[in-house]
C-alpha cells in the first residue's frame, strides 16, 4: 500500500476526520452513529421510531407491517489522465464526492395486498403519515389482486450485526486515496503510447434498521470497497481502440481489501497489456475451447444461472421488464442445466460477498443453499411471499431493496460455482486445449429475457494452441445457450484458484433497482463454444 507524504496546507487529516465522522447533531448520525461491532442490540431510538409505523399500520387495519430506516453512504474518488486537445499535454483530472442518503420505507399488507410508501423525513409524524399512505395504497390496490399475499413463517429476531472489516474505509484520509489512484494512473500513462488511464475507488456503507409487526428488531451495518484501473490505447491509423483493466473484485470488507488489491503494483502490467491488446491480431471465428478465469466467468454465472434461478422471474413477476426464465418450476429437481461437475450455491453468508448480510429485508435469517447439484437444477432463490408457490415452507432469505425508498423484492444472493478437485490447476485446463482461448475480465455482455442465448466479450484474450498459452487476440466474443454452455464444462480448477468477483450494478424491477452481488468460481474449461469476430 502506498502511503502518502502529502498533507494539504489548510486542512489536516484530523480536521477532515472530524468533519467526516465526528460527533454530529444530524439525525442519521445520531441514529446510526459510527460503526460499532461490539454493540449487540439495535439503537432504542430506532426502535421507538419504528413502533410509530407498526402502531399506525395496525390502527389502519394492516395485518402486517415492516419499516426500514436506512442510511447509505458512498464515496468515489479517483483520477482520469487523458490528453489535452493538442494531444501532447496530459490533463490529470481528480474527482472526489461524498454522498449520503437517509430515509425510511414502510411496507404493509392490508386487505391481503401489499402497500408501500417512503419518505426522507425521519420524524414520528411523517412516519405515521407514511404508514397511513402505505395502507391506503394497499387497500386501493386490493380490488385488483390476483390472490391474497401469503407469507412463509419466520422467527422474530432482535439483533445487531456488522459485516467484518478491519479498517473503516471512510475513515481513511481522502488525500491518501487520491494519491493511490494518481500513482497508479500515472504509471499507466507513463508510456506515451497509452492514450488514457482511469482509476477509481468506490466505497459504500449501508446502515439499516428493520422492524416488523411480527416482533423483529434488527440493525445491520455493511461496508464495501472497490478499487479499479483501466487503460485505453488508440490507433488512429487503423481507427481502433482497445482497453485493458485491472479488475479487482468489489468486496464486503474494509480498507484492508484495498491494500491487498495491489493497485499500483499491477499498473505496469496493465500498461503493457493494453498496448499488446491494441496490436493483437483478430480472432479466427469458429468453435473453440474456452478457459475462463474468475474475473470473467463470474459475470457468465450471474447472467445465465443467477438470473434464471430467480423464482419471481420463473413465476412471471418480472415478465414486463427483466423477463421470465427458461428454468420453469416443472424443471426443479430434474433438469440437467450443466455437466456433472457443476455445483452452484446461493449464499448470503459467505465472507466478502456483496449480497452477504445476516438478515434479509423480510427479516429472514440468511442461508446457503444448493441451486445446482451435479448439474441438476435443485432450488430457486425465494422470499417469504413466493416460497409457497413452489411448495416450500420457508424463505431462503433473498429479499432486499436498493434503498429505503424502494420496495424490497426477490434479489439475487451471492451465487457461486464450487471449485473442482484440489489437484486441478489452470495450467492443466490449458494443457488439455488444442485450439482455444483464455479469457480474463469482463467486456460486453448481453443475454435474452429468458436467459437462453448469451453473448459475452472479455477484457483480454489469449490464444491457446497445442496446450500452450500464446499471444493476445482481439475482437473476441462467444455466443452460446445457457444449458449447452454449462453442459460443455469439462474441467474446473481446485479451491486454491477460487476467487470471488462481483458488481455494484445489477438491475432488476420496476421502478428499476440496482443492487450489488458477488459470484465466486475457479478457472473453468468449456468445450467447443461458438466464437465470433466482432467489428
Amino acid at each position: 500500500m502506498t502511503k502518502t507524504s502529502w498533507m494539504p496546507p489548510v486542512v489536516t487529516r484530523r480536521a477532515f476526520l472530524s468533519t467526516a465522522t465526528g460527533g454530529s447533531v444530524l439525525l442519521a448520525n445520531r441514529l446510526f452513529g459510527a460503526p460499532d461491532a461490539s454493540a449487540a442490540k439495535p439503537n432504542p431510538a430506532l426502535e421507538k421510531l419504528a413502533e410509530v409505523a407498526l402502531a399506525e399500520a395496525r390502527k389502519q387495519g394492516a395485518t402486517y407491517c415492516d419499516i426500514r430506516i436506512a442510511r447509505y453512504r458512498q464515496q468515489f474518488s479517483g483520477y482520469r489522465l487523458s490528453p489535452e486537445r493538442d494531444g501532447k499535454k496530459t490533463d490529470e483530472v481528480p474527482f472526489v464526492t461524498d454522498q449520503q442518503n437517509f430515509g425510511f420505507g414502510v411496507r404493509v399488507i392490508a386487505n391481503g395486498q401489499w402497500g408501500f410508501a417512503a419518505s426522507p423525513l425521519v420524524t414520528a409524524a411523517e412516519i405515521a403519515r407514511i404508514a397511513r399512505e402505505a395502507v391506503v395504497v394497499a387497500k386501493a390496490n386490493s380490488v385488483l389482486q390476483a390472490s391474497p399475499v401469503q407469507l412463509a413463517p419466520t422467527k422474530a429476531y432482535t439483533d445487531r450485526w456488522t459485516s467484518s472489516f478491519e479498517k473503516d474505509p471512510f475513515a481513511v484520509a481522502v488525500d491518501e486515496k487520491l494519491e493511490l489512484m494518481h500513482n497508479a494512473t500515472s504509471i499507466i500513462k507513463k508510456d506515451p503510447k497509452v492514450f488514457a488511464a482511469f482509476g477509481f475507488l468506490a466505497l459504500r456503507a449501508e446502515d439499516k434498521y428493520f422492524a416488523s409487526s411480527e416482533g423483529s428488531s434488527i440493525q445491520q451495518y455493511v461496508v464495501q470497497v472497490w478499487p479499479a484501473l483501466q487503460a485505453t490505447a488508440v490507433d488512429t491509423q487503423k481507427n481502433i481502440s482497445r482497453t485493458r483493466s485491472y479488475q479487482t473484485p468489489p468486496v464486503t470488507a474494509g480498507w484492508e481489501a484495498v491494500a491487498k488489491a495491489n493497485v499500483g503494483e499491477n499498473a505496469p502490467r496493465i500498461r503493457e497489456e493494453v498496448l499488446e491488446h491494441l496490436a493483437a491480431p483478430p480472432v479466427t471465428p469458429g468453435k473453440k475451447d474456452l478457459v475462463l478465469l474468475p474475473s470473467h466467468l463470474y459475470l457468465t454465472i450471474h447472467e445465465s444461472i443467477g438470473h434464471s434461478t430467480e423464482l419471481d422471474r420463473a413465476l412471471g413477476y418480472e415478465a414486463n421488464f427483466a423477463g421470465t426464465s427458461f428454468l420453469t418450476p416443472d424443471k426443479m429437481g430434474k433438469f440437467q442445466v450443466g455437466s456433472e461437475l457443476i455445483d452452484i450455491f446461493g449464499d448470503r453468508t459467505n465472507e466478502g460477498g456483496l449480497a452477504t448480510v445476516k438478515y434479509d429485508d423480510d427479516g429472514v435469517l440468511t442461508t446457503k443453499f444448493p441451486i445446482i447439484e451435479k448439474g441438476i437444477f435443485k432450488h430457486y432463490q425465494t422470499i417469504r411471499d413466493q416460497a409457497h408457490l413452489v411448495g416450500e415452507t420457508e424463505s431462503r432469505g433473498c429479499c432486499y431493496a436498493d434503498s429505503w425508498s424502494s420496495v424490497p423484492f426477490q434479489r439475487m444472493p451471492n451465487v457461486w460455482l464450487a471449485p473442482g478437485p484440489r489437484d486441478v490447476t489452470p495450467n492443466d485446463l490449458i494443457a488439455g486445449v488444442d485450439d482455444g482461448i483464455l479469457i480474463e475480465g469482463e467486456g460486453s455482455y448481453s443475454i435474452d429475457q429468458q436467459r437462453y442465448n448469451f453473448q459475452f466479450g472479455g477484457d483480454a484474450f489469449w490464444e491457446i494452441k497445442g496446450g500452450k498459452k500464446r499471444g493476445m487476440l482481439s475482437r473476441v466474443a462467444y455466443q452460446s445457450k445457457t444449458a449447452d454452455f454449462w453442459r460443455a464444462c469439462d474441467g474446473i480448477a481446485g479451491a486454491s484458484y477460487w476467487q470471488q468477483f462481483g458488481s455494484f450494478f445489477d438491475g432488476k424491477g420496476e421502478p428499476e433497482q440496482i443492487n450489488a452481488i458477488s459470484h465466486g468460481c475457479s478457472p473453468s474449461r468449456f468445450r467447443q463454444v461458438n466464437v465470433l469476430l466482432t467489428d
Partner: protein, 443 residues
C-alpha cells in the same frame, strides 16, 4: 416537491455557508406513484418522496470537492458545505475546470401537467384494470407497470446563477403472454401527462401482438435481413447513437465520428438526406430542463442535418480548447420522419421482418458503434407487403450508424421508449442489411 421560493431559500442558505470562492448547488425533489402488476393482478405499488442536494465547491486554485446530502436541515446543509469544501481543499487542481457562470437567462419550458403531478393510485387503477380485462378476455397473462412522477430541479451558484424548473412524466407498459409462454406481446405509452395514458389501447395492442405471435414460429436462418423497426426499437438505437456525438471522443479517435488516419467526419454526408437527428428541449412531450449539463441555456441543436454530420457535442472545456461554442448536450433526441405510415412500410417490403422492440443492448466497438442485442415481444415475417407468420427472436450484432445509413423509409415520429435508452421522439423505419447473428429461443 419544493416551490421556486423554497428552492431559492435552500440554495441561498447553503451558499451562505460557503467559504471557498466557488459553490454550486443542485437541488432535486420528486414525488412518484407507481403500480406494478403481474399474473393478472397487482403485485407491488407505492408512493414515495425523495430529495437530494448536491454541493460542488471549488478553491481559487481550481480544486473541486462534492458532497450530496438529503437531510435538508440547516445543520445538514452547513455540514454538507463543510464536507464539500474539505474535500476540495484536499483534492488537487483540475486542469479542465471552467470558471463559474454568472446569471443566465433560461428559456421557459412547458412540460409540467398539474393533473399528473397530483395523481395517485386511483387515477391509475382504471388503466391497470383495462389491461387486465383485455388479458382475461383473450385468455392471456398480463404483467406491467404504470407510474407518474413530478420533479422539481433547481440550480444556483455563488456567482449569482439561479434556475428552477418542474416537470412531470408518466408511463404505462405491459406484456401479455400466452398461458404456456409460447408467445409474448408488448405495448408502451409514455407522456408528460398521465391523461395521455390509455390502458385499453395499451392492453389491446399487446394482446393483438401476443395472439398474432401464438402460431408456429418460423426459424429463419441467421443473416442479413430487411427489417421494419417499430419506434420502441428505433428509440434504443437512436439513444446509443445520440450518446456518441461527443467532440472529444470524435477528435481523439474514439467514436464512429473519428476518421481513419485522424480527423473527423464533421460536415460529411454520412447518411441519406432524409436523416435528421436533433435535440429539442422545447418539445413539450418530453421532460427537459431549461439548462444543459454545462448550465448554459438549453437550446435546439441538430446533430445530423439532412444526412450531414452537423455538430458535435462540446462541453465548456473542450469548446474553449477548440474555439467553438459549447453545446447543451444530446438529450431530448428527435429523429425526423416522413409521411409514411407503418402500413406503408409493410406494403413496400417484399421480404423482411417486423420487429417490436430490442433488449439488452451493449456496445462492442466504439469506432463503428457496433452493438449487440436481442429482439423481444414480437417478430413477424413480411412477405410481399403483408405480415404473415410469427418468427423466433434473434440476437443481432449491428451498428445504429449502419442502420440509419441503410434506412429507406420512415413514418412520422412519436414519443417512444424501449428497454435501454430512455425516451425519444422517433419514427418506425425500414432498413436493409440488418445483421441477425443467431436464433434466440426466448419468448
Amino acid at each position: 416537491m419544493f416551490s421556486q421560493q423554497e428552492a431559492k431559500n435552500l440554495i441561498d442558505k447553503a451558499i451562505g455557508y460557503a467559504k471557498l470562492p466557488g459553490c454550486q448547488i443542485d437541488l432535486n425533489s420528486s414525488e412518484d406513484v407507481f403500480i406494478r402488476f403481474a399474473n393478472n393482478g397487482i403485485t407491488t405499488s407505492g408512493y414515495r418522496v425523495t430529495q437530494s442536494l448536491s454541493i460542488s465547491s471549488v478553491t481559487d486554485d481550481k480544486r473541486h470537492g462534492n458532497a450530496v446530502v438529503n437531510e435538508l436541515t440547516d445543520e445538514s446543509l452547513k455540514r454538507g458545505v463543510e464536507q464539500a469544501e474539505t474535500l476540495a481543499r484536499i483534492s488537487k487542481t483540475d486542469p479542465e475546470d471552467m470558471p463559474a457562470l454568472g446569471p443566465q437567462k433560461y428559456p421557459v419550458l412547458s412540460n409540467f401537467d398539474s393533473f399528473t403531478g397530483s395523481a395517485r393510485g386511483d387515477a391509475m387503477i382504471p388503466h391497470v384494470k383495462a389491461v387486465l380485462d383485455s388479458a382475461r378476455q383473450s385468455q392471456l397473462t398480463a404483467a406491467g407497470f404504470i407510474q407518474r412522477s413530478a420533479t422539481a430541479v433547481a440550480v444556483g451558484n455563488k456567482a449569482g446563477l439561479f434556475g428552477y424548473h418542474t416537470y412531470t412524466d408518466s408511463s404505462l407498459t405491459n406484456t401479455m403472454r400466452t398461458p404456456g409462454g409460447a408467445s409474448s406481446g408488448w405495448a408502451s405509452q409514455t407522456s408528460v401527462s398521465l391523461k395521455d395514458v390509455n390502458g385499453e389501447a395499451a392492453g389491446r395492442i399487446s394482446a393483438e401482438k401476443c395472439l398474432r405471435g401464438a402460431g408456429a414460429r418460423k426459424k429463419l436462418d441467421p443473416g442479413k435481413y430487411t427489417v421494419i423497426l417499430e419506434p420502441a426499437a428505433v428509440s434504443d438505437l437512436v439513444g446509443y447513437l445520440g450518446g456518441s456525438f461527443g467532440a472529444r471522443d470524435a477528435e481523439q479517435g474514439q467514436s464512429f465520428l473519428s476518421k481513419q488516419g485522424g480527423g473527423t467526419h464533421l460536415g460529411e454526408k454520412m447518411f441519406p438526406e432524409y436523416i435528421t437527428l436533433r435535440s429539442d428541449p422545447f418539445n413539450t412531450t418530453l421532460a427537459a430542463t431549461p439548462w444543459g449539463p454545462s448550465l448554459l441555456p438549453n437550446e435546439r441543436m441538430a446533430w445530423i442535418d439532412k444526412g450531414v454530420v452537423k455538430n458535435f457535442d462540446y462541453d465548456r472545456y473542450w469548446a474553449s480548447k477548440a474555439g467553438k461554442d459549447p453545446t447543451p448536450g444530446t438529450d431530448n433526441l428527435v429523429l425526423d420522419g416522413q409521411d409514411y405510415t407503418l402500413d406503408d412500410l409493410i406494403k413496400s417490403t417484399d421480404k423482411g421482418l417486423l420487429i417490436t422492440r430490442f433488449w439488452y443492448i451493449r456496445v462492442l466497438q466504439p469506432q463503428t458503434l457496433q452493438v449487440t442485442g436481442l429482439t423481444r415481444d414480437g417478430v413477424f415475417l413480411i412477405e410481399k407487403g403483408k405480415v404473415t407468420d410469427p418468427v423466433t427472436n434473434y440476437r443481432w450484432n449491428e451498428s445504429p450508424v449502419r442502420v440509419l445509413q441503410n434506412t429507406k423509409k420512415l413514418t412520422r415520429p412519436v414519443r417512444s421508449q424501449g428497454a435501454e435508452a430512455g425516451s425519444s421522439i422517433v419514427p418506425a423505419i425500414v432498413a436493409t442489411e440488418f445483421n441477425l447473428a443467431s436464433v434466440s429461443d426466448a419468448v
